[in-house]
């Protein structure tokens, strides 16, 4: 069993598991942090961005003025943002049989894999994962396509050039493999390969293994996967949460008794407790509004935003923010808000029961109804006429490189009464803000990551007790910035197996058994005999039939009755009649009794010699040796077949036959 690791990002994993005869891709995450190296894509012409100076190396030897721009000491690529794809060279991706998706964040690279690698398999995901994943992809495509960039910068990727570049660009890996966003057509084609599954539904893969998604508690429809054969079980844990937020709670017990547990998607903010961050978010928001400023919340269009809105729903009354407008701007804002309300079966119990009242499960319905929350597809159109300040704006993309957020950064960045509150943990806020420097706006970092933290995961692992744990190498040491926090890492016995991008791990367990079915009529014919209390044995002669990884023992077809034919030739061609197999023997020959028996049969001159393993009987008159050993009996007698047969039969009397 092998694991190929195609992504080094611990929360955006892409691994391939070879198990029995199947090749399974686990998640298909797209590392979007690469976009931080690019200049923002403004929706409206930004004089500031367009006036940024081009970059020339200090000695003047490298001139990439056209491609690279400098802002506040950092260099950015002036081109359409590109993404860092999962590794494609490690194995032939066309051999992948299935892709299992655990949540909508972890499927953004899907079109790259399914459309350009010769992939012919199936993708399995839950319904909300597919629906919201589609929204995310649509949004991404929309963000990119509505501000097309004519120019595509490639010169900087030149190895010699890249080596001379400053800062993060110089160290960026695999830049040639970076790709622009896919098109809507590719999205549609990729998503058409998705087959929907429900929690605990069992899907057979070629009869070899069974896969089944379990609720992971992280987002709508998010799942962990169990991949099992009759005798082996692999659990894949990705993006799970034990907190009570909107999704169905995590199913932990089904992860028990795994041989291998692949652990990814732990919290990216182990020191930031989501509750504290939520509180921080609310108080900073209230503080800014009270002072007459605007609040900008760069966020994804689904997920934590539901919890933020729910929290604000309760908070705005107590903080006297009743009249402040809340805007949610995204090409998919409307769909996201509405879809969330119809996935009742995927929600936590509390919200599920609301549906029967009937009430909308999320309170943002009420916010919309009372006009406190308004949503728009973009800043153009209706929004511009209804826009009122001070206000709170939720909009994407959290990287601040594309989407409507770019506009608000340009609009509000210069005033210190406004605040930007980062809630998504995927991007470093300092990097995200780099192309907007100098910035007067107040920045608050409240990353809300509800995924498992180290404390929770050690508890979980103690409970489910997998034999082996595989995890990204980042989880096996304390975070770089807090090297003394030994509590922020996985400490297990045996230690977890770490992986990094391009690792190929041989998973440390051997398959020992295979299940074989036996047909009823064949089973009926068996004659078990008890060899020791509780253990019975029977011999079976059968034909082993293997198909679709299922093995069945079938009766041996009876030889067609030999026709009294004269055609001798044919007879010769027929397989030799199957002889009844010789019985299997067991037991030991007791020496004394055996000697008595020999004597009865007239063999009197016997010399007994003791050896390490048993005895050698020398029948002197017959010049014959009988070696009685623990695991075998030999009769050595030259050219006296009748004697040998007699002796053999005498030995057999003392043995049990099957």
């Amino acid at each position: 069993m092998k694991l190929y690791c195609l992504s080094g990002h611990p929360t955006l994993p892409c691994n391939v598991l070879k198990f029995k005869t199947t090749t399974i891709m686990l998640d298909c995450g797209l590392d979007t942090t690469s976009v931080l190296n690019f200049l923002p894509l403004p929706l409206v012409h930004s004089p500031r961005l367009s006036k940024l100076p081009g970059w020339v190396s200090k000695d003047g030897s490298a001139n990439l003025e056209k491609e690279l721009k400098e802002c506040a000491g950092r260099v950015f690529v002036d081109s359409q943002p590109e993404f860092c794809l999962p590794e494609k060279e490690l194995l032939d991706l066309s051999t992948i049989d299935v892709i299992l998706i655990s949540n909508y964040h972890c499927m953004m690279a899907l079109p790259y894999i399914t459309e350009h690698t010769g992939f012919t398999g199936t993708v399995y995901a839950t319904e909300p994962t597919l629906t919201i994943g589609r929204l995310f992809m649509e949004e991404l495509v929309n963000f990119m396509e509505r501000v097309p960039k004519a120019q595509s910068a490639t010169c900087w990727k030149n190895k010699e050039m890249q080596r001379m570049l400053p800062g993060p660009l110089k160290d960026a890996i695999d830049v040639w493999a970076w790709k622009r966003s896919y098109s809507m057509q590719e999205v549609n084609s990729a998503l058409s390969k998705v087959q929907l599954v429900g929690y605990s539904q069992k899907v057979e893969l070629f009869g070899a293994v069974q896969v089944s998604p379990l609720s992971s508690g992280y987002s709508l429809g998010s799942s962990n996967w169990i991949i099992q054969s009759h005798h082996e079980k692999v659990s894949y844990v990705s993006g799970s949460s034990l907190l009570t937020t909107h999704p169905q709670p995590m199913d932990q017990s089904s992860l028990k008794n795994s041989d291998v547990l692949i652990l990814t998607g732990l919290t990216q903010m182990p020191t930031a407790n989501p509750d504290g961050m939520l509180g921080e978010f609310c108080s900073n928001l209230a503080m800014t509004i009270r002072a007459g400023g605007n609040v900008l919340v760069p966020c994804y269009s689904s997920g934590v935003i539901y919890d933020l809105l729910e929290c604000l729903y309760q908070f705005i009354e107590s903080a006297n923010l009743g009249t402040t407008p809340f805007y949610f701007i995204s090409p998919v804002a409307n769909s996201s808000l509405e879809f969330s309300q119809i996935f009742a079966e995927w929600l936590c119990h509390n919200k599920q029961s609301k549906v029967y009242l009937p009430e909308p499960p999320f309170p943002h319905a009420e916010l919309i109804q009372t006009n406190k929350l308004k949503h728009y597809p973009s800043i153009h159109g209706d929004f511009s006429s209804e826009f009122r300040q001070p206000c709170v704006v939720f909009t994407g993309h959290p990287s601040l490189r594309f989407g409507d957020v770019v506009h608000f950064m340009e609009l509000w960045g210069k005033s210190s009464i406004n605040t930007i509150i980062f809630t998504e943990p995927d991007f470093s806020y300092l990097d995200a803000l780099a192309p907007y420097q100098p910035l007067a706006m107040k920045c608050v970092y409240c990353p809300i990551d509800t995924r498992l933290n180290f404390h929770q995961v050690s508890k979980l692992l103690k409970e489910v007790q997998p034999l082996h744990v595989v995890c990204p190498e980042q989880y096996t040491q304390p975070p770089l910035t807090q090297s003394h926090r030994s509590d922020l890492m996985l400490e297990l016995q045996p230690p977890p197996m770490p992986y990094r991008r391009c690792s190929v791990l041989n998973l440390p367990f051997r398959r020992r058994y295979e299940r074989v079915y036996i047909l009823p009529e064949l089973a009926n014919s068996l004659v078990p005999s008890e060899i020791k209390p509780g253990v019975s044995l029977a011999t079976v002669s059968a034909v082993l039939h293997s198909k679709d990884n299922k093995h069945t023992l079938q009766s041996v077809p009876k030889p067609p009755p030999v026709a009294p034919s004269k055609k001798r030739k044919r007879v010769l061609e027929e397989p030799p009649a199957v002889l009844a197999p010789k019985p299997l023997l067991s037991g030991a020959v007791p020496l004394e009794a055996f000697l008595v028996t020999l004597q009865k049969h007239g063999i009197t001159e016997v010399k007994v010699e003791e050896t390490a393993d048993g005895h050698i009987l020398h029948l002197q008159a017959e010049d014959t040796l009988i070696q009685l050993e623990e695991d075998g009996t030999h009769i050595v007698c030259d050219n006296n077949e009748p004697l040998r047969t007699t002796l053999r039969d005498l030995v057999l009397r003392f043995l049990q036959k099957l």
């Binding site: 020191t271 930031a272 407790n273 509750d275 504290g276 961050m277 939520l278 509180g279 921080e280 609310c282 108080s283 900073n284 928001l285 209230a286 503080m287 009270r290 929290c311 908070f315 009354e317 107590s318 903080a319 006297n320 409240c446 807090q482 090297s483 003394h484 926090r485 030994s486 509590d487």
Partner: protein, 874 residues
């Protein structure tokens, strides 16, 4: 005992002896006993006063079918009656005593199993054992063994009572202490002494034997017995006189040594208590000292820490042991913080290792660290030669621990990381450390740490994961440190800015507890007076730390809070913030009229009581702290008038009491120049009601002699015009007793000033007599008119019909009427009212008479089923 009760008592005794199951409630026997105890303490023989009691006792103890509660009562009553020698004799003559305390009797009746009876037995004997005769009886009846058995009774109450009783016997009858009787001649007395001393020796002997035998537990299940004996020893050793103490120590010395060596965790603390008690009484007994040293060398770290803490807590003053205890308590902190508090540790390496091992387990780590932290303030106050490090290092260590707890620390400065991870994020350790830090302000040299303290505390306030209690404690620590800070130059502008920012954030917190603590903090901060730099100028700490203008807007915002507690705290904080300005007589700031408008709105509209109370108090502090003529006066006087009229009509009694206080201030202001006026504070007043509001601040009055030249009449008119009299009169007829009481007191004061009863009607000053006030025809006015009318009609039944007609007319018409203030004050019957109001509202129901009646009634209804009386016992 009054006659009425004496008449009822035989009946009650009969009821109790008959059947106890029909008691009105289960406390009535206790109440009855309390009453008897009170009577016997007041002197006089109960037995003589109520002979029926003896009959009752002898009847009840014969009847084993009686309720165990009643039997227990009878036992205790017997003890109470037999507490004096004379009564004892009488009772013994009736041969009741033997019967009552006869164990066999109770065992045969199967009643001894009932814990109720056993406790009655102990308590009865305990009350009786006040004289040698009783001791005699006790010894001769062989009760001592039984009592020792009861010491490990299954019921904790009984076990504890037995212990108390044993201690009482040993201490009370110690030779040399007077326990003799009066009025007997010398020879007899000597005989008595000899007798009682023999009895006493017998008791001491038995108890000593018992100690010897049972102090060291033979099996682990006997540990409870050892525990009880240790408790008893601790009770005995400290107050015991030398002979007894020496005897005890002689008896148990070996056993104690054995226990110390055995080192049972459960016994550590009681053992320590015993040894420390022995220390405190015997001083430098070598053996005790040795025991103490062994206790501080036991090898279970958790026990050791508790022992050391006990030593410090008891204020033991012996340098060697204190130094040892200090080292023990500082070691865990040393390990965890990496601060070298103990210098280089060489002697106790093994000990350090075992402490380290304990600290690696989370639960024991947290509990050990908490014990150590709690004791740090005490440690810093020990003499410098005892301390292994300067006190300021301990402050540094606590700060460092706080940093570790919040997860923000650099790896270089810390100790063992395996231990550190146990306290990261632990709220319990955080709270303990913050409490310790608060108390550490008083340790020598702490002040130089102020900047570091501020940094850590602000960090705590910043931390999004701090829970509300931790934040609250951080604020308290910050306040305490601010109040001792003499030089604000230590606090950098950056720190001040950070503090302001975090406070701004916290007043917007989601959790109301946090908003409340923050607002409260702002108020308290304004109340702390500090001097800035070297300048003589004084200002409040909120100005010094947060800048003058930043807090008021935050507090104004908090007036709108959804949580009533926060609104109330905000109002109180505003008052504190503005007090300084008021005292200086500064001109009205722009925002003040707006604040006042909002406050009056709260007073009239807020649905919760707390903010409304706070509003009235705001005006009380404004009124009492304003200095001579200021521009704010007109706004204040205007608002006071509205506060009085609204506060008077409030539904909350505390608001009304506060309103009366405000009225009192106005009266004080108006009349303090007049001879004969008693200020509210020293006027004759009822003792404070248990639930009454006690004004926190003692306000100071600024009196202006010049103002009072015109005479009482104009002052009175002014006061009436302000609405003060309405407040007082409406308070008088209020249904809440504290309100009525307060109003009545004030009205009496006013009457004494204006028209004392000692003067005749005509003698009253003509001017004041003319002042009259308007009573409304509804509500309180109507009530007052009714009272006046009744009085009037009493007085003038035969005489002034015309006046009566006038009053009646007013009443019938439902209109208001105008009355002379003086006349009204005289006719309201204020003194009688005062008497009634002074008594607590349950005085009738609590009287012994009513108790006896209750018992009788309950039994009557019990015999006549169907008529159930629901007794209200709260």
């Amino acid at each position: 005992m009054d006659r009425e009760c004496a008449l009822l008592l035989p009946g009650v005794c009969g009821v109790l002896a008959g059947s106890g199951s029909s008691l009105p409630d289960d406390t009535s026997l206790e109440k009855l006993l309390d009453w008897f105890t009170g009577l016997s303490e007041a002197g006089g023989s109960l037995l003589e006063a109520c002979p029926c009691l003896l009959t009752f006792i002898s009847t009840v103890v014969q009847n084993t079918a009686s309720d165990p509660g009643v039997l227990s009562f009878a036992l205790r009553l017997t003890g109470l009656l037999a507490a004096t020698e004379d009564s004892f004799k009488t009772i013994q003559e009736h041969s009741v005593l033997n019967k009552v305390f006869n164990l066999q009797h109770w065992q045969e009746a199967g009643l001894w199993e009932d814990p109720c009876l056993r406790i009655g037995w102990i308590q009865g004997l305990r009350s009786m054992l006040q004289h040698p005769q009783a001791l005699r009886f006790f010894v001769h009846s062989d009760f001592i063994d039984l009592l020792l058995q009861l010491q490990t009774d299954t019921s904790l109450f009984i076990a504890s009572a037995a212990n108390q009783m044993l201690a009482h016997i040993l201490l009370f009858f110690q030779p040399g202490l007077s326990a003799g009787s009066n009025g007997v001649d010398k020879k007899e007395k000597d005989d008595g002494m000899a007798q009682s001393s023999a009895d006493y020796s017998a008791v001491v002997m038995s108890i000593s034997e018992y100690f010897k035998e049972s102090l060291v537990p033979k099996e682990s299940r006997n540990i409870r017995q050892s525990l009880q004996i240790l408790k008893l020893l601790a009770l005995l050793l400290a107050p015991a006189g030398p002979p007894l103490r020496d005897k005890l120590m002689q008896t148990v010395g070996d056993s104690l040594e054995e226990l110390v060596t055995a080192g049972s965790s459960e016994l550590t603390l009681p053992l320590m208590d015993v040894i420390l008690s022995a220390c405190s009484s015997s001083g430098t007994d070598e053996r005790v000292t040795r025991l103490l040293s062994s206790m501080l060398n036991i090898n279970k770290p958790a026990d050791l820490i508790h022992a050391a803490a006990a030593l410090l807590r008891r204020g033991h003053h012996d340098a060697v042991h204190t130094a040892r205890a200090v080292r023990i308590l500082l070691l865990p902190i040393d390990i965890i913080t990496g601060q070298t508090l103990l210098g280089t540790i060489s002697t106790a390496d093994e000990h350090q290792f075992s402490v380290m091992e304990q600290l690696k387990t989370k639960t024991s780590c947290i509990s050990m660290i908490c014990v150590c932290l709690t004791n740090t303030p005490q440690i810093t106050l020990t003499p410098p030669d005892v301390l292994p490090c300067p006190p300021v290092s301990i402050v540094t260590a606590v700060l460092s621990l706080l940093r570790i707890c919040s997860g923000v620390f650099s790896s270089s400065s810390t100790g063992c990381s395996e231990v550190c991870r146990n306290v990261i994020g632990s709220g319990k350790v955080q709270k303990c450390a913050l409490e310790a830090l608060t108390t550490l302000t008083s340790s020598p040299g702490a002040k130089e740490k102020i900047s570091e303290v501020f940094t850590v505390l602000i960090q705590y306030l910043e931390n999004p994961d701090s829970d509300p209690t931790v934040l609250h404690k951080s604020y308290q620590a910050l306040l305490k440190w601010t109040s001792v800070c003499t030089d604000f130059s230590f606090i950098t502008d950056k720190l001040k800015h950070d503090l302001l920012e975090v406070v701004k954030k916290r007043v917007c917190d989601m959790r109301w507890e946090v908003r409340d603590s923050t607002v409260e903090f702002l108020g308290h901060l304004a109340g702390v007076c500090v001097s800035i730099d070297s300048a003589e100028e004084e200002c409040d700490a909120s100005v010094a730390l947060l800048g003058g203008s930043s807090t008021t807007p935050l507090l104004r915002e908090a007036l709108q809070d959804t949580e009533s507690y926060v609104r109330a705290s905000a109002i109180a904080a505003l008052a504190k913030t503005l007090t300084h300005r008021w005292q200086q007589g500064a001109t009205l700031s722009e925002e003040e009229p707006e604040i006042v408008r909002r406050l009056l709105e709260i007073l009239s509209k807020d649905t919760e009581g707390f903010p409304r109370r706070a509003v009235v108090q705001y005006f009380i502090s404004w009124y009492s702290s304003q200095s001579p003529p200021s521009s704010s006066s007109s706004l204040l006087m205007q608002s006071v008038r509205s506060v009085l009229s609204q506060g008077r009509a409030d539904l909350d009694w505390e608001v009304k009491v506060h309103t009366l206080k405000l009225a009192e201030l106005l009266l004080d202001e108006a009349f303090s120049g007049h001879p004969g006026y008693k200020k509210g504070s020293d006027a004759h007043q009822a003792p404070p009601h248990p639930y009454g509001v006690v004004s926190e601040q003692a306000y100071t009055l600024h009196t202006h002699a010049s103002k009072h030249t015109e005479g009482a009449d104009s002052d009175l008119a002014g006061v009436i015009e302000q609405g003060v009299l309405s407040v007082l009169l409406s308070g008088l007829v209020d249904c809440d007793r504290p309100v009525a009481l307060k109003a009545c007191g004030l009205l009496i004061n006013l009457r004494e000033l204006l028209c004392p009863l000692s003067l005749g009607v005509l003698d009253a000053s003509a001017a004041t007599a003319k002042v009259s006030c308007e009573l409304p025809g509804l509500g309180w006015g109507r009530e007052i008119i009714k009272i006046l009318t009744m009085k009037k009609s009493d007085q003038t039944k035969e005489a002034d019909n015309a006046a009566q007609r006038g009053f009646n007319g007013a009443e019938e018409g439902g209109d208001g009427m105008c009355v002379s203030v003086c006349e009204a004050l005289r006719s309201l019957g204020l003194d009688e009212r005062m008497d009634v109001l002074t008594q607590s509202s349950d005085h009738i129901h609590n009287s012994p008479f009513s108790l006896l009646q209750d018992i009788l009634t309950a039994s009557a209804t019990h015999t006549k089923p169907g008529e159930e009386v629901i007794v209200d016992c709260y």
